[in-house]
């Protein structure tokens, strides 16, 4: 497989020799924190979007903030670009390395610095895994709400960089709603605290800007997250439907009725089958779609909501409704959902996960559109997604070993994104743009808007050394992309240089 390179307009050139940089790094970093041998570099060549790969020039694994700072300063001095990496579960190629840059892994900064139960907050290093925070807070009766399906592996630093969501974001918000303060290291090596331990911070809301900035503005070295009291009661309702569109309509009905469940997730037939075979969650395999609707809060509140949810689901044509009878059953129902991606991974050699988000009233329409595109391209698709938020995750099944299949999958994906934009949605709800959707940014934003993004980038990283070639396309990339668009009358392939 050829290596994915940044667009020529986004490539950073520098003259420093590898051994020179390594020697400078070694003044503050142990040998074990520096990886330069090709075989040892291999595990870092891609993130969760494995269709895009590039062997990094150098991997650095600092274990302290001072070591991060030293590494950043060395790179800054020589004009060497840096790509930050958490657990590498990102699905948009945000942590794709550069063949002339440093891949800065934050996984060794993995300490929980403080759990302050009176103030309901936790201060943690960026390499702490998402789930580890809730586990550590549990003995205080608290938890961290955003729960990406990858939560056993993904890091809080990666969550901040992607503004990740999860099943419970419908009621509790995304990462951006659940963090209070960040310590970042800017590309010139300065340590800056952004936000505060209060509910808002001093000056401009740079915390908002940092969240979801995909490692382009600064390296996150500490995060203060908000913790919430564990709910007194939690219940989940499973509703089966004979028709996918009907399930989509049911979602809109629930929200319209003023009920905001803690989570409202949808799985289609293909996903139900895959998850059932893998986890035996107890899903009805004959259903065309299921909804999992979770309700949490005080006991009285959950009782009320449960009654309302069941009535709404029945009213919108569910063929079967059941309520988890025990905590084990509830956990099992969610286990199927959380394992849906790997379950589908068992069905198909490769899958390509999309992330468009649309106004909920168009769910049924867009699902139908996706089914039609699936026929058109001759590629199967499985849908499993955060329905309550209108955040779709169609998984396009393909086989990278079949010539042309990946390209077909990418075109199919591009068409889904176009469909999302056409109904007033966005190309990415929670996975980020990374390298994967960088060309599609040219569809969503005007030249002036992109120029404004570049100005923001310069305010933090004047020399453009942090994660170049990701998230925000250069105008020359868009010009090329746009020109090709007119010429061929269809979306060209992302990452042109690969072909």
């Amino acid at each position: 497989m050829t290596s994915t390179q940044p667009h020529h307009s986004e490539r950073i050139h520098h003259q420093v020799a590898l051994h020179v940089l390594v020697n400078e790094l070694k003044t503050c970093l142990p040998d074990s924190a520096i990886i330069a041998e090709p075989e040892a570099l291999r595990p870092y060549e891609c993130d969760g979007l494995s269709a895009y790969r590039c062997l990094p020039w150098l991997v650095v694994l600092p274990a302290t903030v001072a070591q991060v700072q030293h590494c950043v300063r060395c790179c800054y001095r020589h004009g060497v670009p840096i790509v930050a990496r958490g657990a590498g579960t990102g699905l948009a190629g945000g942590a794709l390395p550069l063949d002339n840059g440093v891949l800065l892994s934050l996984v060794r900064l993995n300490r929980i610095l403080d759990i302050d139960s009176a103030n309901r907050l936790a201060r943690v290093e960026p390499g702490v895994r998402n789930l580890a925070i809730s586990q550590a807070a549990a003995s205080h009766g608290l938890y961290y709400a955003p729960d990406p399906s990858s939560q056993i592996a993904c890091t809080i630093g990666g969550n901040v960089a992607e503004n990740s969501g999860g099943v419970h974001c419908l009621k509790y918000g995304l990462t951006t709603h659940n963090i209070l303060q960040l310590d970042i290291i800017t590309m010139d090596g300065e340590l800056v605290t952004i936000g505060s331990h209060g509910l808002d911070g001093p000056g401009l809301d740079l915390l908002a800007l940092m969240t979801g900035s995909e490692g382009m503005l600064g390296i996150v070295v500490a995060v203060t997250v908000k913790l919430l009291p564990l709910p007194e009661q939690v219940q989940v309702v499973l509703a089966a439907f004979d028709d996918v569109e009907q399930a989509g309509l049911a979602v809109a009905e629930i929200i319209a009725a003023g009920l905001i469940p803690a989570g409202l997730e949808m799985m289609d037939k293909a996903t139900i089958k895959a998850a059932e075979d893998f986890i035996h969650a107890g899903y009805p395999e004959d259903a065309e779609a299921i909804l999992l609707c979770e309700l949490d809060g005080s006991a009285a509140q959950v009782d009320e909501e449960l009654e309302l949810a069941v009535a709404l689901l029945a009213g919108s044509g569910a063929s079967h409704i059941s309520i988890a009878k025990s905590e084990q059953e509830r956990k099992r129902l969610w286990a199927g959902r959380k394992a849906a991606f790997p379950a589908i991974g068992r069905l198909s050699p490769d899958y390509y996960c999309m992330d468009g988000t649309i106004p909920r009233r168009f769910l049924a329409t867009v699902l139908k559109g996706i089914a039609e595109l699936s026929e058109h391209y001759g590629l199967a698709v499985a849908n499993v997604f955060h329905a309550g938020d209108g955040n779709l995750h169609p998984l396009i099944l393909y086989n990278a070993d079949l010539p042309g299949d990946l390209q077909k999958a990418e075109q199919f994906g591009g068409d889904i994104l176009k469909l999302s934009i056409a109904v007033g949605g966005t190309i990415s709800g929670e996975h980020g743009v990374g390298i994967e959707k960088i060309n599609h940014m040219c569809m969503q934003f005007s030249t002036q808007e992109l120029t404004q993004f570049h100005a923001i980038k310069r305010a933090f990283d004047g020399r453009g050394l942090l994660n170049p070639g990701k998230a925000i396309p250069t105008l020359s990339r868009c010009a090329e992309f746009g020109a090709m668009h007119v010429h061929h009358g269809q979306l060209p392939h992302p990452g042109i240089d690969r072909f």
Binding site: N119, L191, H197, D200, S298, G390, E430, M441
Partner: protein, 353 residues
């Protein structure tokens, strides 16, 4: 075209200001003119740019022009049993959505249902180059590009002129009811911590120096169960929360300077002389005091929070927590990234920009 859409007119006004090098003082309803450092520049009124552009109750989303009155928005929402959950204070009937977002102030419900910045989903702005730009959108989740929409919240109009704003709205609860307890300040802080750590349908938690007020919102049975669980007395005034949010409560009737401190909620009482009122379960502290500004900024900073001089006779010094070092530099650079010529609300937030 809708005659209340003033986009072109406003864009021309910004272009003219750029051409002539005249800084602008952006004015919505003028209800928060007291807030921040004194306005300078030629006033540019935004309150003609009115109207709700899009409202889908089933989507819990509304897009409105910045000059739309908060009162009009709240009335439209109420017709669909919905509300602005961040409870923006109005301070005058003229208050607009744009002003509420630019000042970024949120009411007593904030710790429980989110802030002004939390509900913003998208915005259309005019930047300092007189360009009309759109960011975010009307969907709940959107990570395409930097989150410029939320950056605008609390930026006091210094980064750009807000044209249209998309916000998330919430259903109105079936019932809202409260209780109160007579407590000392330190006991009140402890009680607020205890209550906040429980699974309760809280929608307000404040202490006015004598009484601790707890407010619950939700389904009737849930609110009743919560009231029964926590006990307490029935509050004398049903208007307490409204009076608190609009600063009509007796606490705010003072000639001293009014300060707003955002701190971690369980922070013990701060050693600054003056009168205190706690909101947000202890996370927001109102202080009336004539102590020197530096002392108050220092106390807030030490508590890992920050302070704002909210209402004062003399606003020529720092009103917002002073910034230093790289953070100050980043704030200035971001201002320059949006408004390189410094034409929007110069020095309204900080003395150096």
């Amino acid at each position: 075209m809708d005659s209340r859409d003033q986009t072109l007119f406003l864009q021309e006004a910004v272009q003219a200001a750029l051409d002539s090098g005249t800084p602008l003082n952006l004015v919505g309803g003028g209800s928060k003119a007291f807030y921040g450092r004194p306005a300078v520049g030629a006033p540019l009124s935004l309150n003609q740019h009115q109207g709700i552009i899009n409202y889908h109750p089933s989507e819990l989303v509304m897009t409105a022009r910045a000059g739309t009155k908060l009162a009009d928005i709240e009335q439209t929402l109420a017709e669909h049993r919905q509300m602005l959950a961040f409870e923006p204070p109005h301070f005058a009937d003229t208050a607009t959505l744009g002003g509420a977002i630019a000042c970024g102030l949120s009411g007593p419900r904030r710790p429980f249902t989110g802030s002004a910045r939390d509900v913003v989903l998208g915005c259309k702005i005019i930047n300092g180059k007189a360009e009309v730009l759109s960011f975010g959108g009307e969907v709940m989740k959107n990570v395409a590009g930097y989150d410029v929409s939320r950056l605008m919240v609390g930026a006091m109009g210094c980064l750009g002129l807000l044209l249209d704003i998309s916000i998330k709205v919430l259903p109105k609860p079936d019932l809202t009811a409260g209780t109160c307890f007579e407590l000392t300040a330190s006991a009140a802080l402890r009680a607020m911590t205890t209550l906040s750590r429980q699974s309760l349908p809280l929608s307000g938690l404040s202490y006015d120096g004598r009484l601790l007020y707890a407010r619950f919102s939700g389904y009737e049975s849930a609110v009743r169960a919560a009231l029964q669980k926590v006990g307490g007395d029935t509050p004398g005034s049903a208007d307490f929360w409204q009076d608190l949010n609009e600063q009509r409560h007796a606490f705010f009737q003072t000639d001293s300077t009014l300060w707003r401190l955002a701190v971690p909620p369980a922070t013990p009482e701060l050693a600054v002389p003056g009168e205190w009122l706690f909101d947000w379960g202890g996370g927001l502290r109102w202080l009336t005091s004539n102590a020197p500004a530096l002392k108050i900024f220092a106390a807030a900073g030490l508590a890992r929070g920050h302070a704002v001089q909210f209402r004062a006779q003399d606003r020529t010094g720092d009103c917002f927590q002073p910034l230093t070092g790289k953070l100050q530099q980043l704030n200035r650079s971001v201002k320059q990234a949006f408004d390189p010529d410094g034409i929007f609300n110069p020095n309204r937030m900080y003395q150096d920009w």
